[in-house]
Subunit: 271 residues, 2 copies
């Protein structure tokens, strides 16, 4: 099997995201990934290069995805036997010309080193999401940027946490249960915050599969119950005019970014 080396001088998040994005365009091909994060000295780079060269000798030419900001370190990687996809080499010259300045070549400018403010905003949003998960606390809803509403296992909790973590957005979530169905308007706890509501729904058969994993047997994970809850929840969304999204087959990232786009939310922090 071919190996791809993900080489970064820091967290490796950018190179991981990029490699994943590019390689997902070749779905038929299996490629082993090897992460090398926090690689920041010539000696460390040389050790990775040795691994790359060894992999090249043993099998197919390895791919190397590289986000090293130090040009001297990048050059060492380029001397390896791998095929290089180098973000900074490829794009920094264009940006330098466009912006009329030279790139700083400083490691760790990304991801908020020493940035107290961003850290605080995200912490607060995470605290808020955890404190307002699953309808446990319904006061304080007016502080929410968005309140996700839906039946159990439609993605409310992971989406709230993702919104907090990645965007610093305060998201509460309120689970719809039997007592919320068939009423006029919205459940009492949601009065006064109607403009912040966003509904999550899904397909009954997918809901059943997910519930089955969590609590097998029983009414909770029966198809009939899932069909009933989905039907009632969607009827409530329509009646109360709550915008909603069917999350079936969507990843947490997809749900969260779709909510951001649909509600018109903004990131509350930037490193």
């Amino acid at each position: 099997m071919r190996t791809s080396f993900l080489v970064s001088d820091h967290t490796g998040i950018t190179v991981d995201t990029l490699a994943h994005s590019l390689l997902s365009q070749f779905p038929g091909i299996e490629i082993r990934r090897e992460n090398h994060s926090f690689v920041s000295s010539a000696a460390e780079v040389d050790r990775v290069v040795e691994d790359i060269d060894a992999a090249a000798r043993d099998g197919e030419t390895p791919l190397v995805f590289c986000t090293l900001v130090d040009p001297a370190l990048r050059e060492r990687v380029h001397r390896s036997a791998g095929i290089c996809v180098d973000v900074f080499d490829s794009f920094l010259p264009t940006l330098e010309r466009a912006l009329g300045v030279t790139a700083s070549s400083a490691v760790g400018l990304l991801h908020g080193v020493g940035n107290d403010q961003g850290y605080q905003a995200r912490l607060e949003a995470i605290d808020y999401a955890m404190g307002h998960d699953d309808g446990t606390v319904t006061r304080d809803y007016d502080r929410a940027d968005v309140i996700l509403v839906g039946v159990s296992r439609t993605g409310k909790t992971p989406t709230s946490l993702y919104l907090a973590m990645q965007f610093g957005i305060k998201a509460a979530n309120y689970p719809l249960t039997e007592e919320d169905f068939g009423i006029e308007g919205v459940p009492e706890a949601l009065h006064g915050v109607k403009s912040h509501l966003f509904g999550l729904t899904t397909d009954a058969d997918r809901l059943q599969r997910i519930r089955q994993q969590r609590r097998p047997g029983g009414t909770y994970s029966s198809l009939a119950q899932c069909q009933h809850e989905v039907r009632e929840a969607e009827a409530l969304f329509r009646r109360a005019n709550i915008p909603s999204l069917n999350t079936a087959g969507m990843s947490i990232e997809e749900i969260a970014t779709a909510v951001v786009a649909r509600v018109g939310l903004r990131r509350n922090w930037r490193e």
Copy 2:
């Protein structure tokens, strides 16, 4: 101010990460970011191109970061007046040559569309992190991939959630309090899981700033108390031989990826 347009046919996570990574190399220059996610038709692309051209007429030449997988849509973007940084155009030809196949040009292959297994693994890890946050539940610790240990506000909760969300890693977290200090070995709840422990610590003055934000005044956020707790926690890590990390000035991403690297954890899912 110059504007950068982030154009993507899907969540926009890749293009956002990449733009952020590249622009962080130009720390002195302020650039407004405009996200255009889920742009998937020619008509939608043309609307974004109009915005780009308008921005170009009104001020400095805009930057355009683009992750559209459809070559025909990319071409439309390239006709705009912006300066393009195009991931797929730049790197797919290299990868096609290396892999000997043509890229699929299919949208949404990334981020696990319809991938139940990955979704479940992350859900489970998130459930686990939330259920084992802050030492509320200490049984079941043997199911944890890692147990983060530290005094209040050293980053345990956000790190646990990030590990769950991004890596599907099950992380519990246990808060060190007065009763854990000065004892022999590790707190009783942690007996039998010592090999899974990882300590988080920070600088006392930073800890104080963060606690002050959360609960101002009082002992909890006094510098003396923070100094005392940090000293005791670090003494415990040394005595019990628990690997640890000083999280001062680190972002959630940095802490989480450092823990992954130090403990030698692996991602438990892949779309």
